[in-house]
Symmetry: C2
Subunit: 234 residues, 2 copies
C-alpha cells in the first residue's frame, strides 16, 4: 500500500542547510550551501546516489544501501517550487528521480518530460492535491515528499505524512534552514506523536525512520515530581 | 579518565521542555512542564530512576539500564541556577544525585549538605571554574552537566564538553526550550563536529551518544552539484 514518506538529512540541531541564501550571487559559495553539503555528504559519497548522477566512484556501504532503498521505494515525488527551480539546471536532461514529480507552485507551467522516466507536473491547487496526484500514479510504491523543508512541514501539519525518516548527521550547525519549526501550528500542550520503526547507525549518519501517528495532547505525567528527572535530563 | 558529559532528553525537534514558564502560578500546570514531562516520560517510568526518588514500581528494561548507567558514571555534577532552585524543594532531604553538585550562579550562597552524599556548592566565578571544581572531586568518574539547556550550551560552546548523549523521544513539540540554538555563537560556515559512539533504540526513545570533536569549518563538498542530492534530502 502506498505511503506518503519524507526523508531528510539534518544536523544534530535539526538544520537541513545553512542560513537561506536569497542573493543573486553564487549559491554554491553561500553558507546555505555549506550547511547543505555538510549534511548531505553521506549522500554525495554514496555509490547508489553517484550512479544516478552519472558520477564515478563512491562508497558501497550501508549508507549507499539506504540511498538505493530510498530511490527504489518512491513511485512518485512531491516537491516544492524553490527546490524544483534550483534543481532544474543541475539535474539536466536525465534527472535522478526516474518517476513523476509533482511541483507545488502558484505559477502555472506546462508539464515537462525528461529522459529516464522523470517528468515535472506543476500543481497550483495546493499540497493535498499534489499528494493525491502523486498517489494516483505511484502504483504500489510510495509518494516521497522531496522537500524543501517548508513543504515537508506542510504535509506533516496537514496530517498527510505516514512516515518520516531523519538522516541525522553528527554536526551542530548552530543556524540555518530548520526542518521542524514553529510553523507546524501545534497548539499549546499538543504534540505530533511518532514511533521509531527502524534505526540504522553508521559513523557518518544515524538513520531514524518514524511512523507518524499525528497530533495528540501532551498529558501531564507528574511522576517526575518536578525536578527529579533532571539528574539525567537538562 | 574523567570526561565532561551531558545527557539530555529532547523531542525530535530538539526541545527539552515546552515554552518557558516565568509566571508565579503552578509550573506543573504549565506548557513548559507538559513538554518536559513528555520528553522525560521514559525516565520517570524507569525503575532505576524511581528507586532514587523513593517511588515504587517502574519498568525494568533497557531504558532503565541506561538511567542506571548514567547515574553510576557521574562522580560530580554541574548545574544551572534555575534548575537548582526549581529542584530544591522536590528533591527534598535526600536528592537523587548522591554526589557533589556545583551550581553556576551569580548569587553567593553557603554550601548545602544533603543526605545520601549530595551536596550543593554555589560557584560564582563561571562555568569553567565550576567544571574544574567538579572535575577535582569526580575521581575516575565523569563530570555530568545536569542542565539546563543554557548551561549545556555554554559548556559545549566553550569547548569543555567531551560527550553529549541525546535521548531522542519520538514526539514533535513545535515550540519550547530548545537545547541547541543560536547562542552557541558559531561562525558562518562553521560547525561543531561529533561522532556517534553508541546508539540504543527502544520504542520509547533513541539513545544517541556522541563524542564531541569541537569547532571546524564547513568545507564545501560540491560533488552534490547543487540540487542532485535533493532526491533524498529536503
Amino acid at each position: 500500500m502506498t505511503k506518503v514518506t519524507a526523508q531528510v538529512s539534518v544536523s544534530v540541531d535539526g538544520f537541513y542547510a545553512g542560513p537561506r541564501f536569497d542573493g543573486d550571487g553564487d549559491w554554491m559559495a553561500s553558507a546555505e550551501s555549506a550547511g547543505f553539503f555538510r549534511v548531505t555528504r553521506w549522500v554525495t559519497e554514496g555509490m547508489a546516489w553517484r550512479e544516478r548522477q552519472g558520477f564515478a566512484g563512491g562508497e558501497q556501504d550501508t549508507n549507499s544501501e539506504v540511498i538505493a532503498e530510498t530511490f527504489a521505494a518512491a513511485g512518485a515525488y512531491v516537491m516544492g517550487r524553490r527546490m524544483a527551480d534550483g534543481g532544474e539546471v543541475p539535474w539536466g536532461d536525465e534527472p535522478p528521480f526516474r518517476a513523476p514529480v509533482f511541483v507545488v507552485t502558484h505559477r502555472p507551467r506546462a508539464r515537462v518530460e525528461r529522459k529516464g522516466g522523470t517528468s515535472f507536473t506543476y500543481v497550483t491547487d495546493g499540497v493535498a492535491a499534489a499528494v493525491e496526484r502523486a498517489r494516483a500514479v505511484a502504483g504500489d510504491r510510495n509518494v516521497a515528499v522531496a522537500g524543501g523543508g517548508s513543504l515537508v512541514r506542510q504535509v506533516l501539519a496537514a496530517g498527510l505524512l505516514d512516515e518520516l525518516e531523519l538522516h541525522v548527521v553528527p554536526v551542530v550547525l548552530g543556524s540555518g534552514l530548520r526542518l521542524l519549526d514553529a510553523d507546524l501550528g501545534l497548539g499549546e500542550k499538543e504534540g505530533i506523536e511518532l514511533t521509531p520503526t527502524r534505526v540504522i547507525s553508521t559513523p557518518e549518519v544515524t538513520h531514524i525512520r518514524y511512523a507518524v501517528h499525528g497530533r495528540a495532547p501532551l498529558l501531564l505525567d507528574d511522576r517526575g515530581r518536578g525536578g527529579g528527572a533532571t539528574t539525567i535530563i537538562s
